[in-house]
């Protein structure tokens, strides 16, 4: 090894960094952004899962328990009626509701058992845990204080769980399988398009196309056409593999899964074309992967439920296309929703709007190619 020669390479690399501000910004900025996101998603300042509590107990325990749940640091509790709670759960505005039955106090005294019913939404395991934990803590505290006051023994918690969708029959693969279909396809198609389009720019053929009678829309539509052929095959492959080789649980229509997957691809193709405008080399394009994709993955609700993000992050989640794609896929696969379901239609509509907006943006950025 020759120190001077090796040193020349090190120096050259540092010079290249100095000329490439974008890469430097990425190297020093992205960790802060990504770790910051991680902090907020895993608890720092996050929102608690919303839970309705319905107290029907004729004895004293229900009120004490409900009050204690209200002070929980795991969940955010609203007391309400059973009908309201049920409608909240199906509208997805709460993660669960707990019914404290009429005989709660009576059974606690006679059988030493506290048996509330917990109605869970069921498609997001990350939301189930905090509810059960909070219930357990509150039961322990409430019954201890009652036991001390009234000479009761500390009863056991025996909740009965009721799942609106899914339930204990689903495993981790089932929860994440659907979301991952969307993610895998979105990620791969995005990377392939942004690289392909950048190559078109850097090798000068885009300029050549601009000097031909082609219009900008011809180029964008041409790209969509070419990539969608491959993407359609990929979507079918991914869906078939997930459902029939991995046996991921599916409640809904397979064609809808393929449709949603294809819509995600359409978004990915145009996001790729659009973002390629902001890169001048393939190297820089690759940098868009951590910056454009990782936050979307973290914020899309695949792993961390959108409902438990801090409020301002929820706003960010709601303007990312992947969030709606993932939600739509879960609607179909876990809840068995079809085209008559409002929330699914909203998801599909939003993804379509994103696709159209990105097509327009991709077409508009091509204009700037002429100097």
């Amino acid at each position: 090894m020759n120190g001077r020669r090796a040193g020349a390479i090190s120096l050259r690399i540092l010079q290249q960094f100095r000329h490439d501000r974008r890469t430097l910004m990425l190297l020093f900025g992205a960790p802060i952004i990504l770790l910051g996101l991680f902090y907020f998603l895993t608890g720092g300042g996050s929102s608690l899962p919303a839970v309705d509590v319905v107290n029907l107990d004729r004895g004293p325990l229900g009120a004490v328990l409900a009050a204690d749940l209200g002070r929980s640091t795991e969940i955010s509790v609203t007391p309400t009626t059973e009908a309201q709670a049920a409608s909240d759960l199906s509208a997805d505005t709460v993660a669960a509701y707990v019914v404290l039955p009429a005989d709660l106090s009576a059974r606690a005294l006679s059988d030493d058992v506290i048996a509330p019913t917990v109605h869970l939404e069921g498609t997001q395991p990350a939301l189930t845990q905090p509810v059960l934990l909070a219930l357990d803590q509150s039961v322990t505290r409430a019954s201890r204080s009652l036991a001390a006051a009234e000479g009761m023994r500390v009863p056991a918690l025996e909740p009965s769980l009721d799942y609106l969708h899914g339930g204990p029959g689903l495993d981790t693969l089932d929860y994440f399988g659907g979301a991952f279909i969307g993610l895998v396809v979105f990620l791969l198609v995005f990377v392939v398009t942004i690289i392909a389009f950048l190559r078109e720019r850097s090798q000068g053929t885009l300029e050549r196309l601009m000097a031909s009678p082609l219009r900008r829309a011809d180029i964008v539509v041409g790209y969509i056409g070419g990539f969608m052929v491959v993407a359609a095959v990929q979507a079918v492959e991914v869906v078939v593999f997930t459902l029939y080789a991995l046996h991921v649980h599916d409640q809904g229509n397979v064609a809808l899964i393929v449709l949603l997957t294809l819509l995600m691809t359409l978004v990915a193709v145009n996001l790729g074309i659009f973002l390629s405008m902001f890169a001048t080399t393939e190297f820089q394009a690759v940098q868009f992967i951590p910056l454009a994709i990782v936050p979307q993955v973290l914020l899309s609700g695949i792993v961390f439920p959108v409902a438990t993000e801090p409020g301002w992050l929820q706003v960010v989640s709601r303007i990312l296309p992947l969030t709606y794609g993932v939600d739509g896929l879960r609607d179909v696969m876990l809840k068995g929703n079809g085209l008559t379901s409002g929330p699914l239609l909203v998801d599909i509509a939003v993804v379509v709007v994103f696709a159209v907006a990105l097509i327009a943006a991709a077409t508009a950025t091509l204009r700037r190619s002429a100097s």
Binding site: Q203, G204, A211, S212, L214, A370
Partner: protein
Amino acid sequence: MIRAQPVAVSVEGLTKAYGTIRALDGVSLTVGAGEIYGLLGPNGAGKTTLIRSLVGLVNPDAGTVTVLGRRLPDRTVLAEVGYMPQAPALYADLTVEENVRFFASVHDLDRRTGAQSAVDALELVDLTSRRRSVVATLSGGMRQRVSLACALVHRPRLLLLDEPTVGVDPQLRAELWQRFTTMSGEGTTIIVSSHVMDEAERCGRLGLVRFGRMLAEGTSAELRRLAGVERLEDAFLVLSESKS
């Protein structure tokens, strides 16, 4: 005699600055149909910028460009223009023939016509035997020739060639110029940039460009007489001295 022909390209007062660099500084020029017009000038003179302006790739700061009777910007005229960029812009992962046929179709040739025209264009640049080679595996001069084939496959009425013979060996270079002359005889207008003086001798008319300005125009003989020298190269030096 040249002015009697219909005008193919007319440029007036074209100006384009990139920051403080004046790439074009009030260039005017008229090229008649069927002419071979040579743009002569050193590196950085503005030849590429001028040629790119003729296909709408440059947004001028001032001045007008009229191509085949249509005032730019106007994309419809581009179907009749062939543009060969200075660096061969090709799809390196496609074969020679796939590249040429692609550029045939983006210039509105249908499949059958495109296929036949691609055969003819490859014949012209002497690459028929390599038509199935992937472009990435070709030598620099060969790529230059593929790029030329892509520019003329749709038989444009106006052919813009930015230093087309760089890296092409002398024999093929002579053959290519033979073809250019034939095409010009058939009515194709050719604007070709070069900094090679012996090529310039083959052009009908020349424009000497420097610092984004048109220093002088005329046939090689006219320019040499104007400068009072024997060789075109010297004429170029004398004329750029006197104007700058």
